[in-house]
Symmetry: C2
Subunit: 334 residues, 2 copies
DNA sequence: TTGTATGCGTTATCAA
DNA sequence: TTGATAACGCATACAA
């Protein structure tokens, strides 16, 4: 690999001049510029970004931490963020936190030590205090899908509670009263918020929440499947199931069908997230829209605005979930 | 952020000694070691990996390039690789190539310039020569899902042609003769290999390939949908559809149902990849298993073996696809 | 407009 | 077992 020094030799200019044309900030005469450009070309010179980072303390890359690398939800968020960043010539460095405190911290520290210019964090296991501390360490970052009052300006969120409320309200309005709920891992704030919304809707309709109608799943297809199994085994009656995400809804629908229950004639199902595949299930899944793309882009904008562009634009911090009505919920009022 | 220098001062040892305990390679007396460790703790010292990389020309991280960050296929591959690497304390730096030559090259060069110790590449648009050249540049890398004879030792592949053959053979054995084919973008080698396998199976059964039964999709749900629309519009008869991946199969099934065609009674459908969601579609999708997890782990092993462990283990380079029979294909022999 | 010199935070090669 | 000191490849303040 050619270095800046070899380029400067070949172009017979100083090292600093080469650096100038690389970053084309300082004024360089057209003539010497061309000389340098030519030298760079013949040497097939590529700047060593590590050295650049060390010298300038900037890396032109932002670190992204998501819980898992797999799964439609995370991957489409990463994708949106990466696309937005790359438009500005910035790169994404991505790593996974695995919903584990130690692992999440490790990931964050790794990204920092790689001198990322900013971080976009989808963390779940790390404490609020850790993040508040992170802010004090003067590391620019936003959290996605996690709200912490003390650092509200750094949070970009969906109103998960409202989403849960909307989903169950819809079921209630369609005449359902015995509503099973398949939750995500309840220690995760988004899972518990969605569940709280569910409870609020029930309360509003004066329906008593039955603890036997709650199953705590894992946000994956398998969780939905097991939830249905559980409800069926206990023999409790339910006319609808609200699922905390689309994957579990898909698993639930599959399990219901296997047990001979028609959807939505025997059991209605509603999901959450509005992932792409929910348009292609059978029946097509009614769900709550999570504007992943918008949130991803917003997170990227936050970074770009705060860091590179330097104009402090106002940014949307709280996004509103919306009901998406398709074919998996039946109106049993009639 | 504390530096190695400050640690050395606090521990009143030399800078070199601190470096030694960080990398605990050289011999350091227990006593001074503890002094240094204590100093590191009180200063909350974290090594600057950028500086480490620059000085040592290693980064303890491997670069991964996939076509897209979204999509079940890529994301589960990334996930498997990352997991395997992290087990050895190595980090993954991930970026996207977007199936575009310029973008893929950019991604590769970015990873190199970040001084990744090795690369795992899922590239599509870049030429064979570029990769052969890359090998000459002495950059350790493996390609996934792309076979290049000249650098066979660096390739980890699925036998896509065989997979396409198996899928269509299965359809033929079940009595189907009018088989529509929804391909991926045919300029991609995996898509065209799968299609070639399809043709070989047809030839073996002495079924003439009908060009009107071919639709070139985009590997996404939408492609399957459009494929079905296209076939239906042309009014051509078909009793089965082979899809080049599961997403398109899902789209195709959805479109068929919308047009009132039952699956598999009216039309049989087979997919490719065996993504998780294919177990949860309705009907459950028959497909070809792509051992993504095994391939991801193998790629990671290659890197680990070649780079860090230094024992040259034999590694599987060609993986064999397998038929997964579920409910979406009907036997019409009877 | 260009060049010189210093520093970024480490590793690694010498000596001691 | 330890300590100086020179790289690593580049950015940048200061001089010219």
């Amino acid at each position: 690999m050619a270095t800046i020094y070899q380029v400067s030799e070949l172009a017979s200019v100083s090292l600093a001049t080469v650096s100038r044309v690389i970053n084309n900030n300082s004024l360089v005469s057209e003539k010497t510029k061309n000389k340098v450009l030519a030298a760079m070309k013949t040497l097939d010179y590529r700047p060593n970004t590590v050295a650049q980072s060390l010298a300038s303390n900037r890396s032109n890359s932002v670190g992204i931490l998501v819980s898992e690398l797999h799964g439609s939800f995370y991957s489409s968020m990463m994708s949106d963020i990466e696309l937005a960043l790359r438009e500005f010539g910035k790169h994404a460095i991505i790593t996974a936190g695995h919903s584990d405190e130690k692992s999440e911290k490790e990931g964050v520290e790794f990204l920092i030590s790689r001198s990322c210019d900013a971080l976009i964090l989808h963390v779940e296991a790390v404490s609020d205090d850790y993040l508040i501390d992170l802010k004090k360490r003067n590391i620019p970052f936003v959290t996605v899908n996690r709200y912490i009052p003390e650092i509200a300006a750094n949070c970009i969120c969906l109103d998960n509670e409202l989403g849960g409320y909307i989903a169950t309200s819809f079921l209630l309005k369609q005449g359902h009263r015995e509503i099973a709920y398949i939750a995500g891992p309840l220690w995760k704030t988004d899972a518990s918020d969605r569940y709280k919304g569910h409870l609020r809707a029930l309360a509003e309709f004066q329906v008593k929440a039955n603890p036997r109608l709650l199953y705590e799943g894992n946000f994956q297809e398998e969780g939905g499947q097991k939830g249905v199994q559980y409800f069926l085994e206990t023999g409790i009656f339910f006319s609808a199931i609200a699922c905390a995400n689309d994957e579990m809804a898909a698993g639930a629908m599959s399990a219901l069908r296997e047990k001979g229950r028609d959807i939505p004639d025997d059991v209605s199902v509603i999901g959450f997230d509005n992932l792409i595949f929910s348009r292609y299930t059978y029946p097509k899944l009614s769900t709550i829209n999570y504007p992943i793309s918008a949130i991803g882009k917003t997170a990227a904008s936050w970074v770009l605005n705060n860091l590179y562009i330097n104009r402090k634009e106002d940014i949307q911090h709280l996004f509103t979930p919306e009901l998406v009505v398709r074919d998996s919920v039946k109106n049993i009022n009639e």
